[in-house]
């Protein structure tokens, strides 16, 4: 029980408390700027905090992580440019709200819901970590593949225009994700014998191009139109509002924790799945999805922040990273002389409770920084477009470059910007492209692992699905969602041919 007291360490040491606060504050901005990622920031912090003690170093990293996951929503809402992949779904309904002048309300709700999701994630980490990690380990390649298929079916809810255009966009995304040297067999795919293409196309560059550059070019159509005035008197959502979304956010938070705890999937997939879930269970949204539905904000934001706590679960219990950021944190713990692994919980349980405490603390700071300074942020969208557009373009360029220090990525980013611009004009949704890129490796690698495990025998493959309860549940979900989309599909077809 003594170990549990470490939970309070963070609250009783002013220096640590300030570091978490500083980290969270910085994280919000890191997350908001496309191209600056939490992964990058935490890597840099390893060198920066090298000579520090382990507790202050971890405090700062946890702050950045929490703040960064949340920060991605800012630019998604205000500029339609997700600051991080986990905020893609947030743009879908957040940006339409900003266009109605409700950016303040959108950000306020997002903040409170992120806080809520974050708390659920931490709660599960604190109370159920061993169970969840046992469950996460049970996922076989077959199950990851089914999860990817489930993800791909989200194309349906991400493309509210023409479903066929959405399917094209999704398949295009999967193909983009396959470019480069296949990491399993080192076969070159879509590289056209160009050595630079062996490394593949960086998907952050695709995202920045598709959303950032194409949005900037789109805005050129009405440079001289006045920016939408934002009302910022209603920021904190009322208690009634929170209560109304409580059931939904509990569901999407749980989804977020699990997806976050699975090694190999993270907040980006969690947020998209949560959006889809919200669309499915919300019978009568006040506004249709895609036009500023609150549920469309609540779901992805609770899920991606809940995924943070989830990602720590396999890290703390098994020494297995739940995502890229926790992978770096494991490295950091090593460098600071700890041995993250299954023994850490047994030998140093106080470390576990300290991290839980720091996460809780970072979560409160996120709420604080999220609800203040909104005025400053909304000023960005009220800037004259003639200045805003060149700045977005330059930030997109620097962001794409910064990901891998590569000018090639800048060219990719610009190329995808132009493609995205044309796609928007002709009614192709861009979300499915990014969804495809995110899921490409998950689907491809795990399909191949699964079928190799069964010695290329499809019969054995399906036998495996029907004899494993987990696979069976996932398979049923795939079938159910697919079938539920079929009448929708006919409806779309009718709409298109009319």
């Amino acid at each position: 029980m003594d170990a549990f007291l470490a939970f309070f360490t963070i609250f009783t040491h002013l220096e640590l408390l300030l570091l978490v606060g500083l980290g969270t504050f910085a994280g919000v901005y890191v997350g908001a700027i496309p191209g600056l990622s939490v992964t990058m920031a935490v890597s840099i912090l390893i060198s920066f905090t090298f000579s520090w003690d382990v507790l202050p170093a971890i405090s700062l990293m946890i702050g950045i992580y929490m703040g960064g996951v949340y920060g991605g929503s800012r630019t998604a809402i205000l500029l339609n440019i997700p600051g991080a992949p986990s905020a893609i779904a947030t743009a879908l309904d957040g940006y339409p709200m900003a266009q109605r002048g409700e950016a303040g309300e959108a950000i306020g709700t997002t903040t409170v819901m992120s806080f809520f999701g974050g708390l659920i994630g931490i709660g599960v980490l604190a109370l159920l970590a061993p169970f969840v990690s046992d469950f996460a380990l049970k996922f076989q390649p077959r199950d990851y593949m089914l999860l990817a298929v489930l993800g791909i079916l989200l194309v349906g809810s991400l493309s509210s225009g023409s479903l066929i255009k959405g399917i094209f966009a999704g398949a295009f995304g999967i193909a983009i994700g396959a470019v480069g040297m296949d990491p399993l067999t080192f076969t070159e795919r879509f590289t056209f014998d160009i050595p630079l293409m062996r490394g593949g196309i960086n998907f952050i560059a695709v995202m920045i191009g598709m959303f950032g550059v194409s949005e900037a070019l789109m805005q050129l159509h009405h440079v001289n139109k006045d920016a939408v005035r934002q009302q910022i008197n209603r920021i904190v959502p009322s208690f009634g509002t929170i209560k109304k979304y409580l059931p939904l956010s509990l569901q999407t938070s749980s989804l977020g924790v699990i997806i976050g705890a699975l090694p190999g999937t993270g907040g980006d997939i969690a947020a998209l799945m949560a959006y889809d879930h919200a669309k499915r269970v919300t019978k009568n949204p006040e506004r249709p999805f895609g036009e500023g539905a609150m549920e469309g904000l609540v779901a992805p934001e609770t899920a991606n922040n809940a995924a943070v706590g989830g990602a720590f679960i396999p890290m703390m219990t098994l020494g297995i990273p739940g995502d890229a950021v926790t992978a770096i944190m494991i490295g950091a713990l090593f460098i600071h002389g700890l041995n993250p692994g299954p023994m850490l919980m047994i030998e140093k349980p106080d470390m576990f409770w300290f991290i839980v405490g720091a996460l809780v603390c970072a979560n409160f700071f996120m709420l604080l920084f999220g609800l203040t300074g909104i005025k400053l942020f909304t000023k960005i969208v009220e800037m004259p477009r003639a200045v805003l557009i060149p700045l977005i373009l330059l930030l997109s360029i620097v962001g794409a470059y910064a990901v891998n220090n590569s000018i090639t990525d800048v060219y990719w980013m610009l190329g995808f910007g132009v493609i995205g611009y044309m796609m928007r004009h002709y009614g192709y949704p861009l979300g499915p492209v990014i969804l495809g890129v995110i899921l490409s490796r998950l689907l491809d690698d795990n399909w191949r692992r699964a079928i190799i495990s069964e010695r290329e025998d499809l019969g054995r493959f399906f036998h495996g699905i029907f004899t494993s309860p987990l696979s069976l549940v996932l398979f049923m979900a795939v079938v159910l969602i697919f079938v539920s989309q079929t009448p929708l599909w006919t409806k779309f077809r009718k709409k298109e041919s009319s």
Partner: protein, 334 residues
């Protein structure tokens, strides 16, 4: 007159090169890490470099550049100026690029600054596997052909070399080889039962072994390991392995061939001192790595020997795309 000019020019160039080395570094040095953030190479480099910075009196900005089994990073540094401001921080993989058809450059285009440490391979198995040691595994494979699932990390990776070694010594193995993109994900899959056996580097599995989350079958070495006493060496089961052992992956820092010698020796001095730092030594020990800290001719001959042995092992196992002969890599002992 001509002689004087030549003399003056060479004196000048000598002077400037000495001056360059003296001032070095006048700006940030960039360290390109071949592998992703959080991996073994990343951890080793980020742990040693700050100590080298102190000796150098400069800043080394480290960046991860992944892709193409590290070839993207290697080619990136090889295409930059040999001015000593770009370091390549890598592992053993580039020595196999040529025979695996992954690129036409390897460490022969670079000067080793320091080969920091070497890892030891170990065979680990899922706790539910129906055998407890190497001999049991071989018996199981013989009785159940085509059933055992062994993890791999693609051609040329550590598991493929270990598997090639076993096949050379024991003869063809009828197993299923399941590819993962790194030993981290593969060891996770091992614990979840997606694969039965994994040849891994000791450091990546040592904590899970100590916690009883996976069981060790044999250390791929000629003697038991001090960090994991009680686990038998593979040569205890079959003497034939002695020919190929000790063998293991390694981590090293490199600069492009043609870098000013004074700069090279300054960097070598810095890393050599950094590698003796107690924190770093402890970190290497806790991860089960054998500290090497070698440079110059010693490092060069280590690289040559490693490349010869491993290339020909893979060649004889039929895993290469091109014969080592084509690149002038001699068969070991020739």
């Amino acid at each position: 007159m001509k002689k004087f000019v030549i003399g003056a020019v060479s004196a000048l160039s000598l002077m400037t090169s000495a001056a360059i080395a003296q001032d070095y570094p006048t700006k940030e040095i960039q360290g390109i890490i071949q592998w992703g953030a959080g991996g073994s190479t990343d951890t080793v480099m980020r742990a040693v470099t700050p100590h080298a910075e102190d000796v150098l009196g400069g800043t080394v900005v480290m960046q991860n550049m992944t892709g193409g089994v590290g070839a993207i990073a290697l080619n990136h540094v090889a295409n930059e100026d040999a001015d000593g401001y770009k370091l390549l921080m890598g592992a053993e993989n580039p020595l196999l690029y040529k025979v695996m058809g992954l690129g036409d450059k390897d460490y022969s285009d670079f000067v080793p600054i320091n080969i920091l440490a070497r890892g030891t391979a170990i065979l680990v198995a899922n706790n539910d596997a129906p055998f407890d040691d190497y001999a049991g595994m071989m018996a199981y494979i013989a009785e159940n052909p085509g059933e055992l699932r062994i993890g791999s990390t693609g051609p040329g990776g550590l598991p493929s070399v270990v598997t090639a070694m076993i096949e050379t010594v024991e003869g063809e193995l009828d197993v299923i080889s399941i590819p993962y993109d790194g030993d981290g994900p593969a060891l996770t899959a091992l614990q979840g039962g997606a694969i039965d056996v994994m040849p891994a580097v000791l450091g990546a599995s040592i904590e899970a072994i100590k916690a009883g989350n996976m069981k060790p079958l044999a250390i791929m070495d000629t003697t038991a390991n001090e960090y994991l006493p009680g686990v038998p060496a593979v040569t205890d089961f079959n003497e034939g392995f002695a020919t190929y052992l000790p063998w293991g992956p390694f981590f090293g820092v490199f600069v492009k061939q043609g870098t000013d010698e004074a700069i090279v020796s300054k960097l070598q001095g810095a890393y050599a001192e950094a590698a003796t730092n107690q924190d770093f030594v402890d970190l290497m020990a806790s991860r089960g790595f054998t500290l090497m800290n070698i440079s110059g001719d010693e490092a060069q001959s280590f690289l040559t020997k490693w490349q010869q042995g491993t290339s020909w092992l893979l060649q004889d196992a039929g895993l290469t795309k091109a014969s080592p002969e084509e690149f002038g890599i001699a068969r070991p002992g020739e």
